[in-house]
Amino acid sequence: MTGLQRAGRWIGEHLVLALGLLVMVYMFVPIAVVMLMSFNDNSKSRNVYAFQDFTWSNWAHPCRPNGMCDAVVRSIEIGLLATLVATILGSLAAFALVRHDFVGRSAANTVIFLPMASPEIVMGSSLLALFVASGFGGRLGFVTIFIAHVMFCLSFVIVTVKARLTGLDENLEQAAMDLYASEWTTFWRVTFPLVFPGVAAAALLSFSLSFDDFIITNLNAGQTVTFPMFVWGVAQRGIPMQVNVVGTVMFLISMFLVLGNMLATRKKVAA
């Protein structure tokens, strides 16, 4: 093989990987900018589109922008509640779909898939149409946002837990029962620990979907302001740099949880 051929082969072997990594870089540039801008001191000029001076003050005083921390707290409250309800209802449904036969199972599978394939603007306006038609048009707020969030999180929970359940070896449960464990004990000592990483991943996904949602929330929120709605509101006037602090913190926490879940799953598989 000549050197040229060898070089050609090496490029062929690594070109795809290099291009893939470039795409990856493209995906991370905006996040890097968010992190960088969280240290930006723009107190001397109104220009929020350039890095002026380095400062710790955005991190030291994250709640300085009016109303931002209230909005963050509200988003966390809605996110936790919606996650709790969606994770429980969704996990039950996933068990039904994987472990039980019932009339309408394939119809249920289709209905579960639809919210993931509908544009948010259509789901949001449908829900608003329902609330207005049933006389809740003047009472939009925390409750209507919560209802909407559970609705769109459910499908993602079901799909995630289903994937984990499908990959589970039913023989393990059979073995527990052969060793005289009751159905109840089998569930809590065998099934649940095995499914847990899937449930945890689903909960994490739900929370971030809920915390991040803007389009559906904006239509059904009335006067209630969530964090994304706060960001939208200030986006026209120029965003306070503290918004980037919240973005960075969110990113770091969820990366920590995702990588932790990944390592925990891997350790269990290896053991």
């Binding site: 893939g20 039904a96 149409a129 048009g137 609705m151 994304p228």
Partner: protein
């Protein structure tokens, strides 16, 4: 574990009820809204008068943003397909033991707010920013031209925001491919590119279909990119619907436009289900 004839129903019931009440029934409300008397207002109330002309009026007034949405979403989906395929292929076949870490990194952007990331693009593409300066230096862009408030910026934003929706299904179908099939193509003297075109690409078709739908659908309904990165000249159908509902209070037109958008998308999903079947996508 399949004990109890009714256990399945009981487990399914709460989620099914929630989706029926707050996902299925709202579509009927939306349909009713689209047939409201267009003279109604928030103050006087709305009556369902089967005013089918709402659809004609909505198309007449807003065909431009509607077509623009479909066009931008199609271009963004095509670009996502190319970028996403490269990335998914690299993760599935070239990354070795790093593949699960890379996969986590693909979904990582989901965990920073969509709005904050889009605002970050606004900063990257800003008039005196690095990207515009470089392109002007290279004479790709004229000295006075800009990226913000152009279709390029909006489509770039759409590509960026929906790329993970393309990569994940593509990876799922690429990863399932039996490597021996690709080797067999090589053993039978197919060049690597021919092997890719005749073996890998056809086998990844379910991922391509799922990925294009999961990218195209949210992109066609999106208005955040058009609002933050574009100008009124790049207004998409989502901007119009949102505006009609929240600012103008013209529920009839907003409802009709939503129904039209949904009808176009349902038609696409039907074609998809015929080609690949629902289970594949989930």
């Amino acid at each position: 574990m399949r004990r109890g004839r009714f256990t399945g129903y009981w487990l399914m019931l709460p989620a099914a009820l929630w989706l029926a009440l707050f996902f299925v029934i709202p579509f009927y409300s939306l349909l009713a809204t689209s047939l409201y008397d267009p003279e109604g207002s928030v103050l006087t109330g709305y009556d369902v008068t089967y005013h089918f002309a709402n659809f004609v009026d909505a198309l007449d007034d807003f065909w431009e943003p509607l077509l623009r949405s479909l066009w931008y979403a199609a271009v963004a989906t095509a670009i996502c397909l190319v970028l996403g395929y490269v990335l998914a292929y690299a993760i599935a076949f070239k990354a070795g033991r790093w593949s699960s870490l890379l996969l986590v990194l693909v979904i990582a952007p989901f965990f920073t707010s969509f709005l904050i990331r889009t605002l970050s693009w606004k900063l990257i593409l800003a008039d005196d920013g690095f990207v515009v300066d470089t392109l002007q230096f290279l004479h790709v862009l004229g000295d006075d031209s800009r990226l913000l408030a152009t279709p390029v910026a909006v489509i770039a934003g759409l590509v960026y925001n929906f790329l993970p929706f393309m990569v994940l299904p593509l990876y799922a179908s690429l990863e399932k491919i039996d490597g021996r099939l690709i080797e067999a193509a090589g053993d039978l003297y197919a060049s690597p590119s021919r092997g890719f075109l005749k073996v890998t690409l056809p086998l990844s078709k379910p991922g391509v279909i799922a990925g294009t739908l999961l990218t195209f659908i949210p992109a066609a309904g999106d208005y955040i990119n058009a609002s933050l990165l574009g100008s009124p000249n790049q207004r998409m159908v989502g901007n119009v619907i949102q505006n009609l509902f929240t600012s103008t209070g013209d529920y009839a037109a907003a409802g009709a436009l939503s129904v039209i958008l949904m009808a176009i998308i349902v038609a696409m999903v039907m074609v998809y289900i015929r080609t690949a079947g629902t289970e594949e996508l989930v």
